[in-house]
């Protein structure tokens, strides 16, 4: 709750103060506020500080922030802070984009802390509506407009399906509270051996479709490469990390509520996960643009993360946390580096931007390699640790899925190698721009390696 207060006040302040002013300073300012929020949320999660007094007015059956919710909120605000800081140097006038990013972040936090389907729906909307606008915020570029309209139309339909699903769940269970929603089918299943009512099954499928659309899992992913490519780089960095993280936390919380009737839904989650992993990885091999490659890579990562939905328990939050942390940090860093090396912003962002990087900026090329290794899941990086925890805990119940995941990771080396190849092997004539804000990249790389090497320490901190 405290994070929502801070972000809302910051958003309103920034909107008023930054009217018609250059965005850069406000980007740094907002980023610092977000870092502060992250620290407060971590303090709340570890019990160093207690913010309960701020939310006594709010009934706990609507929204609740326990330790794990605080940690995921901290993760979200940290990601947004990094995105705002790295992309702060720009020529935008007016701070409405920052305001909208903050509102979308509030939506993401609502999706993390929800205890009631109404709050989940509102969070999903608060996350989506600013993003529809932000995807098209580069109004002079045609592809940005295309991205906005595509995202808006698809998003509106998926929201409608999601809402219909909530209605079916309400009809089937008679409640919209997360604590109670899964009780009736679970009891019917456990005590009387009865099949789950059709209404609840339909509701689960429809609600899942709405959330799977947001995380761009396979049959619902067609929008994401186009939208990611068309939207401004900063917005793509936000969408591919924050939206996915929030939707995964919300999705796993919802499915955990229905874990009593897992046999009703696990088979189609497995099918979707397999389809997503294979489709994302294979389609990524064919791409020439950095943004499209990262978009398909994010689809593939959504496939791996669907494993977590199947094995989620109250105590396994750390797997999701570590995975989202490593995935988000490394993919933001890759995209930001490509963005800063790009000379002409109108041009398509292809792998040529990395040409000759190892000669001109060897340190940055090394960092690039670390980020690529982490995204691909190669040892000594956080990506490996995350995948290791995820796959090893899934293996007992879904060995086939883990096998497909390993196969997908092997395929993924094929396209992640393109980054390394153009940075190290190709000596380009291109005069790269200088990477700015270098210390942020160093920080990100250090976090990734630290999580990779001292994974156990991080886990202890997260509370396992």
């Amino acid at each position: 709750m405290i994070s929502i207060y801070i972000l809302f006040i910051t958003a309103v302040l920034v909107l008023f103060l930054g009217l018609n002013k250059s965005e850069t300073k406000f980007g740094y300012f907002t980023s610092l506020i977000l870092i502060l929020t992250t620290i407060l949320c971590v303090a709340g999660a570890k019990g160093w500080m207690n913010f309960d007094k701020l939310s006594t007015w709010a009934p706990q059956n609507m929204m609740f922030f326990g330790p794990s919710e605080y940690l995921f909120t901290a993760l979200i605000t940290f990601i947004v802070a990094i995105v705002l800081w790295i992309f702060a140097e720009n020529k935008e006038i007016g701070t409405d984009r920052i305001g909208l990013i903050l509102f979308a972040t509030i939506g993401a936090i609502m999706m993390i802390g929800y205890q009631h389907m109404v709050v989940l729906f509102l969070g999903l909307e608060t996350l989506s509506i600013p993003l529809f606008v932000l995807a098209g915020s580069d109004r002079e570029r045609l592809s940005s407009n295309e991205a906005a309209i595509k995202y808006f139309l698809m998003g509106a339909f998926s929201t409608a399906i999601f809402l219909l699903g909530i209605a079916f769940l309400y009809g089937g269970t008679g409640t919209m509270e997360l604590q109670a929603i899964g009780l009736k089918p679970s009891f019917m299943h456990a005590l009387e051996g009865m099949a789950t009512p059709v209404m609840i099954r339909i509701g689960l499928v429809l609600v899942s479709i709405g959330l799977l659309f947001k995380i761009s899992a396979a049959p619902f992913h067609f929008w994401s490469p186009d939208v990611y490519e068309g939207s401004p780089n900063r917005i793509m960095a936000f969408m591919s990390t924050v939206v996915k993280s929030a939707a995964f936390v919300a999705f796993s919380k919802l499915m955990l509520a229905f874990s009593g009737v897992k046999s009703d839904w696990d088979y189609w989650i497995v099918a979707i996960a397999i389809l997503t992993i294979l489709w994302g990885n294979i389609a990524a091999l064919k791409q020439n643009s950095v943004k499209r490659t990262l978009a398909y890579s994010s689809i593939a990562h959504a496939g791996y993360l669907l494993m977590y939905v199947l094995i989620a328990t109250e105590a396994s939050d750390f797997i999701l946390f570590v995975y989202l942390l490593s995935y988000a940090l490394s993919s933001i860093a890759l995209l930001a580096m490509a963005h800063q090396l790009q000379l002409d912003t109108e041009e398509n962002l292809n792998f040529d931007v990395f040409k000759g990087l190892s000669k001109k900026q060897p340190a940055m090329a090394l960092l690039l390699a670390i980020f690529v290794f982490s995204t691909a899941g190669i040892p000594v990086t956080a990506g490996f640790a995350a995948k290791f925890y995820l796959f090893s805990s899934t293996f007992a119940s879904y060995p086939l899925l883990v096998f497909v995941g390993l196969l997908g990771s092997a395929i993924s080396i094929g396209y992640y190698f393109k980054f390394i190849k153009s940075a190290y092997l190709e000596t380009g004539t291109s005069d790269n721009r200088i990477v700015e804000n270098r210390w942020v990249y160093w920080l990100l790389a250090m976090v990734l390696v630290a999580v990779g090497v001292f994974g156990a320490v991080v886990l202890q901190f997260v509370g396992v």
């Binding site: 929502i4 809302f8 958003a11 309103v12 909107l15 018609n20 250059s22 007015w57 709010a58 009934p59 609507m62 929204m63 006038i93 007016g94 409405d96 984009r97 305001g99 909208l100 509102f103 979308a104 509030i106 939506g107 609502m110 009631h116 109404v118 709050v119 509102l122 969070g123 909307e125 608060t126 509506i129 600013p130 529809f132 606008v133 932000l134 098209g136 915020s137 109004r139 002079e140």
Partner: protein, 173 residues
Amino acid sequence: MFNNLPIPFLVLSFFTILSALYVVTSKNPIHSVLALILTFFSISAHYVLLNAQFLAIVNLIVYAGAIMVLFLFVLMLLNLNKDAEPIKSNLWGIAAAISAGLLLLVITAAFQKAGENVVKHPVEGIGLVKALGQTLFTRFLVPFELSGALFLAAMVGSVLLGKRDKVNKDLLA
């Protein structure tokens, strides 16, 4: 058949059906839209008769207000005249009549069954603004407050899409 029904209901129903018929039969699209507004007004009056004040007001604001104004604007901007109207065969009319008739049949059947339960177990003051406000400000206070962020975001977004960049460049120079 009509003896036990209150007279205001009969009058209103007469108006509703008459204006709804005019929506369909009128050749001029503007007249159709105006008749549709009249239909919405009389449906709202039905809601008032059913003691559902809130629904009546929302129906007026949303349908008769916002959506119908949008319809009118579109019609006026498109400048529809008789030449431009696409020729439709009777088949469309028959198909529409059959599907609408089926919908009517299903809804009537459903409500005949449900109606008994509603009459047997009436809920006190369910359609009143007071009941709604009490629910909204006690049980659903959190979503209500949070939707403020949503609407603010939507407003900022529409301003961002709508504003002209040139103005800002001039101000900066």
